[in-house]
């Protein structure tokens, strides 16, 4: 039995954070479905807030700190990704975008992704479809059909048995199915690997 890894990225800023709460529930639903299918699951929670300074520093210097490099490797080397952001000004928040700006398009191409968001009103819910999903499409990830948005009324109604719960279970099942049928990740790509010989480089010269 293989161990399937799920990176669970949360861009919530407050503590405790409803964004983290949604991320954890999506992760649990996905894990339960994978376990039902006979897989072992390793969850890799990532709180972007803890790496906020390192993320900005990477944007400025062009390289990650050692701890941020480990986080990036954990995310890009996972079999599946759950990415949850609060909605600010009708889109993902800056921390979420800044983090994924550091992820190479090659690194998550073909990886199953489940997106989720939280917001102060349900009127933000389509930001998942016009902002978050297109970003992962650009990264050539395989985003599952159900994207989960949680508004304040979803929590106050009791997340366990309300409509939110049903969406979480459905989304988790979709991600688990994708992860189950996708080959395990080869791990993060090595940017220093030589992929061509000099004869090929020189040979390309005359063509």
């Amino acid at each position: 039995m293989t161990v399937r890894s799920l990176a669970v990225v949360s861009a919530g800023l407050s503590q405790p954070s409803s964004t983290r709460l949604l991320a954890d529930q999506l992760a649990a639903a996905t894990r339960d479905e994978l376990v039902r299918r006979g897989e072992e699951v390793e969850l890799r929670p990532v709180e972007l807030r803890e790496h906020a300074h390192d993320i900005v520093n990477h944007l400025l210097t062009g390289f990650p700190s050692e701890s941020l490099r480990q986080v990036l490797d954990q995310v890009t080397g996972a079999d599946g990704l759950i990415a949850v952001t609060p909605i600010f000004n009708a889109s993902y928040n800056g921390l979420f975008k800044s983090f994924f700006d550091l992820v190479d398009a090659e690194a998550v191409g073909g990886r199953p992704v489940l997106v989720g968001a939280t917001g102060g009103t349900a009127r933000h819910s389509l930001a998942l479809e016009h902002a978050v999903r297109p970003m992962f499409t650009y990264l050539r990830a395989v985003t599952v059909p159900t994207a989960v948005f949680a508004a304040p009324e979803d929590w106050s109604g009791g997340a366990a048995d309300g409509a939110l719960r049903a969406r979480i279970v459905r989304a988790g099942r979709e991600l688990a199915e994708q992860v189950h049928r996708t080959a395990p990740s080869d791990g993060p790509t090595d940017p220093f690997a030589l992929t061509t010989s000099f004869e090929q480089l020189l040979g390309g010269r005359d063509t």
Binding site: V56, N57, T61, F63, E66, F192, A193, T196, F198, L201
Partner: protein, 379 residues
């Protein structure tokens, strides 16, 4: 082992007093730094090449020619020569000319340049950076090694029956280093030709340097130029020193915090932990620099960046005094005592000429036995 300084040639406001040097002051300061480097016993001065403000050194051979006339011993080099946007014909001519004027005290470091807008000013496209570096350098080598060149490529007008003049001094082309931060293709290029590889090493984690130098060494051996530990490696380094390390930190911090490259990002403490930047006493610089050998092996050239981020000339010259009097003599002795006999020194004009006289012509495809060439010269 060779020690020296390399300069970017930036015009930057001194953040401690708001003063910005004029271009004239900055250019003369670069010359003063080169002359001081020779005075304090360093071996190499290398200038950057840039074609956009806030940088002044757009014409490296003009500057290096002037310095050549005012020095006796100093090796003149570049960091880097833009192999992508310069015409290789002009590089061949300019540096052969400089080689004659400087009596062979010349080598070059090739680089691609990472500023997108510069490429179109010279009719090129940054997306072709690697193919330009490959094609242009291959032509440059031929221009220095073949008296008459017929050539056709993708990026430049074809050449028919072209002779680049003057021919290299003593028919020995300048030694070439290839500089790159994280492009494995450039480490491969350096290894293919048996040229030197220079890891920028400043502003970047040591891990980049370790991986790139490791790849270069492995491919150098693959292409039959010698064993991996005989490959010719250079490293950058960035230091700021005062006798008392707390004084160094206090004085350097405003320059660090406002520096164009990393300013307003990581703290000085974070950056010194993450990159080879060393701010402290001469002994700390000695210890840190000796530690470079732990992850790149025995290497041939160490260049320091001292003059940037608006540091005044007087401060830079004080840094050179400390480097020449306290740091480099110790490093020279330590590195020399650690280096095994079969690991060569960096090739020089004299060692390459001696090697060429020893070996029959190889048709211009290889620099020949670098191990033999470098070992010839003792400083």
């Amino acid at each position: 082992m060779q020690f020296g300084v390399f300069t970017v040639g930036d015009v930057t406001v001194d953040p401690t007093n708001g003063r910005e040097p004029t271009e004239a002051e900055r250019i003369k300061a670069m010359v003063a730094i080169a002359l001081k480097a020779e005075e304090v016993g360093l071996d190499v001065f290398a200038t950057g090449e840039h074609h956009n403000p806030p940088f002044v050194p757009s014409s490296p051979t003009t500057m290096l020619g002037y310095i050549a006339a005012r020095t006796e011993r100093l090796l003149l080099s570049t960091a880097t020569t833009l192999i992508t946007t310069n015409d290789p014909v002009k590089i061949a001519e300019d540096y052969a000319m400089l080689q004659h004027l400087a009596d062979g005290r010349v080598d070059l470091m090739m680089g691609r340049g990472n500023t997108g807008p510069v490429y179109p000013w010279f009719g090129q496209d940054i997306r072709n950076g690697i193919p330009l570096a490959i094609e242009n350098y291959d032509l440059l080598r031929r221009l220095w090694r073949e008296d008459v060149v017929d050539w056709q490529g993708k990026f430049r007008t074809p050449l028919q029956s072209f002779t680049s003049t003057p021919r290299p001094l003593d028919d020995v082309p300048p030694f070439v280093w290839h500089g790159s931060i994280r492009s494995p293709e450039i480490a491969e290029q350096a290894a293919y030709y048996g040229d030197g590889f220079f890891a920028n090493h400043i502003f970047w984690p040591a891990e980049h340097t370790r991986r790139m130098v490791g790849l270069y060494r492995q491919r150098f051996e693959h292409y039959g130029h010698g064993t991996a530990d005989q490959a010719i490696v250079g490293l950058g380094g960035q230091v700021f020193m005062r006798r008392n390390s707390q004084d160094a930190v206090r004085e350097f911090r405003p320059y660090f915090d406002n520096a164009p490259v990393y300013g307003h990002g990581p703290s000085l403490e974070e950056f010194t932990a993450q990159t080879p930047l060393t701010v402290g006493s001469p002994q700390q610089v000695i210890d840190r620099t000796l530690g470079f050998r732990d992850y790149v092996g025995d290497y041939q050239r160490q260049l320091f960046l001292l003059d940037h981020a608006g540091l005044p000339l007087k401060t830079v010259l004080e840094q050179l005094d400390l480097l020449g009097e306290e740091v480099v003599p110790v490093l020279r002795k330590e590195f020399d005592s650690l280096r095994p006999a079969h690991v060569p020194l960096a090739p020089t004009h004299a060692s390459l000429r001696a090697a060429a006289q020893r070996a029959p012509q190889t048709g211009g495809t290889s620099t020949g036995d670098l191990a033999g060439a470098g070992a010839e010269i003792e400083r």
